[in-house]
Amino acid sequence: MIRFVVQRLLQTIPVIWVIITATFFMIRFVPGGPFTAEKAVTPEILRNLEAHYGMNKPLYRQYLDYAWSLLRGDLGPSFKYPTRSVNEIIADKLPVSMELGLVSLAVALGVGLPLGVLAAVKRNSWIDYVCSSVAMVGICVPTFVLGPLLILVFAIHFGQFNASGWFGPMDWVLPSITLGSVYAAYVARLTRGGMLEVLSQDYIRTARAKGASETRVVLKHALRGGLTPVVSFLGPAIAGIVTGSFVIETIFQIPGIGREFINSATNRDYTLVLGTVILYAGFIIGMNLVVDIALVWLNPRLKFE
């Protein structure tokens, strides 16, 4: 097991290096720079600004400088917020996005798992059809339609919630439902499928024959095997929640890192773009690794594939 983990960890290093390098050079070859937007910049000031950020050096030199400071955990100064470093901006905004992501994931699992198990246990009954239809609705109504609709109904019409902002747990409700619902729907479908496959196997019949109660059979014996498809979906789901947060943070005006990422790209804030891309890539790759390890733990046979 430890060998497997170490092996997978080593494999991620070149991947992350490729991402950093590709992003670094891609943003440099793009038309426009961080200072082109400001109108009244004289050539002298521009030169001074570039010298200040080390942009007058040859590109490979800048790349090496960046890589060196990155190794020390320093993401450099922001171009658009002259007094702040990228580390500070991330430390400031990331907790908000983490809260949003975790609550949304909790919604996805908290709603999706019970619905899926229920649909599988009551297969082909009206409960199953209702659960499956609800899941289909969740999949087909995109977040950027659902979010504004929820605001329209629950914030504007009934006035129960704030339409925007991020001040307390009440403000978590609408955004996390919006972001979590799609994944709740997928989790429900995958749980149903996984449970159905497991429930027809011999060891479940054995458990029933031993006289185990139906609740015990479902929750103790079947769930562990039935969860495999859900666990392998968690990798893509987490990546999706991360990218989905860009839209959610825009709709609900949440001061998170997702909005900062979109703005930084539009502003050509080189260091902030790189910093956020490294953060996201590292996070998503790390999560995929955790999911892979969890899968092997659930089903040790996978180790040999």
Binding site: V145, T250, I262, Y280
Partner: protein, 283 residues
Amino acid sequence: MERGHSPWSDAWHRLRKNRMALAGAILLAVLALACAAGPVFSQSYEEQNLDLGAVPPSAAHWLGTDTLGRDLLARTLYGGRISIMVGLVATFVALAIGVTYGAIAGFLGGKTDAVMMRIVDILYALPFAIFVILLMVFFGRNIFLLFFAIGAVEWLTMARIVRGQVMSIKRMEFIEAARALGLGRRRIIFRHVIPNVLGPVIVYTTLTIPAVMLLEAFLSFLGLGVQAPMSSWGVLIKDGSEKMEEFWWLLVFPGALFSMTLFSLNFLGDGLRDALDVRASRD
């Protein structure tokens, strides 16, 4: 004498029994036809009527008008054209890359296959949506770039599915029989392998189209997709969500039409999967 059934006619028979899938197919046909032909008959999608402003649905404007007095029905149908076109073209790009790549890996097998699929594994782990966003921000909102970027993201699963199919079909007895009969390699590939890969490819294509349309709308919602004066459902939904407090219809109708399209495609895809008896892929 009883006539034999081909697998395709069996599948058609099964599909016809699936009411949801059939309803999806019909709804889809109606929507596509309306989007294709509608703008020809309806009011102009760009003609402004500033005196009129935004009015709710009425007999003259079935879905109301937007703040510039433009007919929302015409705009929604026209936006649907672009959304559906993006969905089809980008899916075709993904299909072309995925099928070729997967088929080559599956046929050649061995070391080549191992390397090719390892590359796919690595690409799978990348946060692609982030790169698509960067591409669209940096290189302008070019619609051809949009096709390419979306297609380049969506081909991975297709490659995996096709490779898996080709691998398993290659080892089956009927291929061996065909070889024993002395058929050439080309004939085996076109006459025996490809028809058997077609089922999963059709199913997955049907399910890729809504995913692609969703990605396009997502980008347009962030202001990175289709640009004015062109319009897509994503653009309309974005505009609508900004003005929904006063003019709810601007959000509700484009949103409903978009969701209905996704519904139909998903139901049709699920129905095709059952009809063609494609086992759910494990990814």
